[in-house]
């Protein structure tokens, strides 16, 4: 056994040897989609293609820039971290506006801009008949800008801005078809549920600021590493940050919003709810990894591991019983996100990020393929599909590639990344670095089997059997199938970047900070063999149940019937939220708020109005009585004295002359006598 283990070398990152040309200007990457958002929003209807041209052009340039920047980094350019003062409050509170372009950021830039580019091209075909086509492109651009902003942020406050920006765009796009009540409800549900986590995220930021005195992520990481901050405060801060990640990345128990988020257009599901936004939580944990590792001896990572282990299993089970093809993919996304967290939790940082990277490609591929299917049959339900391989050969081939990658069949992308996570969990278990490693390992292994099972079920129900829908389905236009081919091609090759020992991915992605640990996964040939056998077992069971059996296979007839009822109600989690949170809030709290509004707030408002009225009438009286009396009195006095004096003016010249002489006589008399 021991001889089968390939001993890992000491990983060294790429040595920076020169100042790069591109990393310095990477702030342009988020700026370009932001500009295209404004352009499309204000002039979209006048632009060629009703706005998609501006969006696609901006994101294409951003992608090329990201590519240039990343190649620059890989060939030895220095990473760039700089910041500018944004606000300075009296005291020590400073908000900076900064960028931190390193390998992790560069990789995320590549993923986000690339998937966004493909999705925008794809949407030109998919959304063609949509009445809010221009608006759709505007929000898509805004989403991309927010996501890139989140990724490049060098401090937590900026990250929060991007974080909320992507949340808003997600809300807008889930509710794109808001004419149907369920869609707008889904949008609200997604927004509120992630907001529950966001509250934790915000308090985590405040907690870190209180103990570290800065928002800068690099400084916080250094402080966490050299013991400048620590103790229970750091543990609480890490757990609060993880709350945000749980909400955004749809982990147990806050994952309930992601399946409902499938109410949005399918390209949106591919971009936001599979490849980019939902990995923001994973990215957050990765960015602040030293905080998690050095708080209380890695206790927060144990929590992450347990949450991930629970999530991957429950989501995979739910994916097994869905009829809506997008919901299968949504639960699968939740499950795969849990794999990424598991990778981080057991200490194989690189593997977790590698799974994020490969998952973005094959899950975007699956979603866009599902969109192509939905476009053809005008239904999300697999019970309306069947036999599609005959009608849509391009979609079929690419979809199968994506599915095999998801199920972890070598040599596709998902196999390598998933195996590294499993290998990492195994090593952490053997070395004893994480107390919960065996739980994570066991859960991940069972999930690998379940993933193959539900993936095969999805493919069988969709592509084999007889067509059960209405009308004649047809292959999608080229603008939709070409992104599928591109993604399928990449799904075939990107896995080799992380090939054991010789892969280059581990030189790119390593933990932030200087001493945080990133273990090499345990490479041997037994573990991949086990996972491949598990996946093939899943395929075989699916073949037996769903292909040989009826397409409408009934779980209730099997010995898992008791679980089916439980899973069909989604573990009652939605009911608990509805009964335990929404209803108590909705009725008593709303009534109490109404009462308070009527009696307290209205009292205050009315009181203020009455007070104002009284003061106004008092002022009126004072004005009338005092000020006007003074003014009128002065005028009256002047008039009265004028009336008296006018009698002197007789007009008789001789009388004037007489007065003149009389006056002189008086003066003379006075002068003479005095």
């Amino acid at each position: 056994m021991q001889s089968l283990i390939i001993v890992a070398e000491e990983i060294q990152g790429i040595e920076a040897t020169r100042t790069g040309l591109f990393p310095d200007i990477m702030w342009l990457v988020p700026l370009l989609p932001a500009l295209s958002f404004l352009a499309v929003l204000f002039f979209g209807k006048k632009l060629p293609g009703k706005g998609h041209s501006a969006g696609i052009l901006a994101i294409a340039v951003a992608f090329l820039l990201s590519l240039a920047g990343f190649i620059d980094l890989v060939t030895g350019a220095e990473t760039v971290e700089k910041s500018w003062m944004w606000f300075e409050f009296p005291g020590s509170l400073e908000l900076t506006f900064g960028m931190n372009y390193d390998f992790l950021c560069g990789l995320m830039f590549l993923v986000v801009t690339f998937i966004s580019l493909l999705v925008q091209i794809y949407s030109a075909g998919y959304m063609l008949d949509d009445e809010r086509y221009t608006w759709f492109y505007a929000v898509l651009s805004l989403f991309t800008a927010s996501m890139l902003f989140l990724v490049i942020a060098d401090n937590l406050m900026m990250m929060l801005v991007g974080w909320e920006g992507v949340g808003v765009c997600s809300y807008l796009l889930i509710g794109h078809y808001w004419e149907e009540k369920t869609n707008s409800s889904a949008a609200i549900k997604a927004f509120i549920t992630t907001r529950v986590g966001d509250v934790g995220f915000m308090f985590g930021i405040f907690a870190l600021f209180i103990i570290a005195g800065t928002f800068n992520i690099t400084e916080i990481n250094h402080l966490a590493e050299d013991g400048g901050i620590g103790g229970i405060g750091l543990t609480i801060a890490a757990l609060l940050l993880f709350c945000g990640a749980v909400g955004k990345s749809a982990q147990f128990p806050l994952y309930v919003w992601l399946p409902d988020a499938m109410a949005g257009p399918t390209p949106v599901s591919a971009l936001i709810h599979a490849a980019t936004m939902v990995v923001a939580g994973v990215y957050l944990v990765a960015r602040t990894f030293p905080v998690f590792e050095f708080a209380n001896g890695g206790f927060p990572l144990e929590v992450v591991g347990v949450v991930a282990a629970i999530t991957m299993l429950v989501a995979a089970l739910l994916a097994l019983i869905q009829d809506d093809i997008k919901k299968v993919l949504a639960y699968s996304t939740i499950s795969q996100l849990a794999y990424m967290f598991a990778g981080l939790a057991v200490g194989v940082f690189t593997a977790g990020i590698f799974h994020l990277f490969t998952h973005a490609f094959f899950k975007a591929l699956l979603f866009l393929g599902a969109g192509s299917l939905i476009h053809a049959v005008h239904s999300n339900n697999m019970s309306d599909m069947g036999g599609m391989r005959k009608f849509m050969p391009a979609t079929f081939k690419t979809y199968i590639i994506g599915s095999l990658a998801l199920a972890g069949i070598p040599p596709l992308a998902g196999f390598f990344s998933k195996d590294e996570v499993l290998g990492g969990a195994l090593r952490a278990g053997i070395d004893g670095t994480r107390a919960t490693a065996w739980i994570v390992f066991g859960s991940a292994l069972i999930t690998a089997f379940l993933t193959a099972l539900y993936t095969a079920r999805m493919c069988i129900k969709t592509f084999w059997g007889d067509y059960r829908g209405h009308g004649q389905p047809h292959e999608s236009p080229n603008s939709m199938t070409s992104p599928l081919w591109v993604l399928a091609g990449l799904t075939l090759v990107v896995g080799f970047l992380g090939f054991p020992v010789i892969g280059v991915f581990k030189y790119w992605i390593f933990t932030p900070g200087e001493v945080a640990h990133s273990f090499e996964p345990l490479y041997n040939v037994v573990l991949p063999a086990i996972t491949v056998v598990a996946a093939l077992g899943g395929f075989f069971l699916a073949y037996k149940w769903f292909y040989k059996g009826a397409w409408r296979f009934d779980f209730r007839a099997t010995s898992f019937g008791w679980m089916y009822g439980f899973a069909e109600r989604r573990y009652y989690l939605d009911d608990i939220y509805l009964g335990g949170v929404v209803k108590p809030v909705q009725y008593p709290l709303a009534a109490a708020t109404y009462w308070a509004n009527q009696h307290v707030l209205d009292g205050i408002v009315n009181g203020a109005a009455k007070g104002t009225l009284g003061a106004a009438s008092g002022t009126y009286r004072a004005d009338q009585g005092v000020v006007d009396f003074g003014v009128n009195g002065a005028a009256g006095l002047t008039g009265f004295s004028g009336g008296l004096l006018r009698h002197v003016q007789t007009g008789n010249v001789q009388r004037y002359a007489a007065m003149l002489f009389a006056g002189i006589a008086i003066f003379v008399a006075v002068f003479a006598l005095v």
Binding site: Q649, G651, N652
Partner: protein
């Protein structure tokens, strides 16, 4: 002759002038009375000038000025009186109370 003789004459003449200005109804007579008052002043000036000898020369100059001014004043005054007569067929000063409220 002591200067007081001239001063008494001047005072009498001035008083007559004042009486004429204040009491007469006819506008021309009022103007003539004004002339009397001016000439009373002239007598005063000339009397003092004579008393002061060489130093009194400015008094004589002032007297000449007053004569010139009186001539001009009378010219303007008579012209006004003639215009008033043409307009109103009367030069009664009591009826000329136009400058009142």
């Amino acid at each position: 002759m002591p200067v007081s003789f001239f001063l008494v004459l001047s005072a009498l003449l001035f008083s007559i002038g004042v009486y004429g200005v204040l009491a007469r109804q006819h506008a021309v007579l009022v103007l003539l009375s004004v002339e009397l008052m001016l000439n009373a002043a002239n007598i005063n000036l000339v009397a003092f000038a004579a008393m002061l000898g060489q130093a009194g020369v400015p008094g004589q100059v002032f007297a000449l000025f007053i004569i010139a001014v009186a001539a001009a004043e009378l010219g303007v005054g008579l012209a006004i009186v003639i215009l008033i007569y043409r307009n109103r067929q009367s030069v009664d000063v009591d009826q000329m109370s136009l400058m009142k409220w």
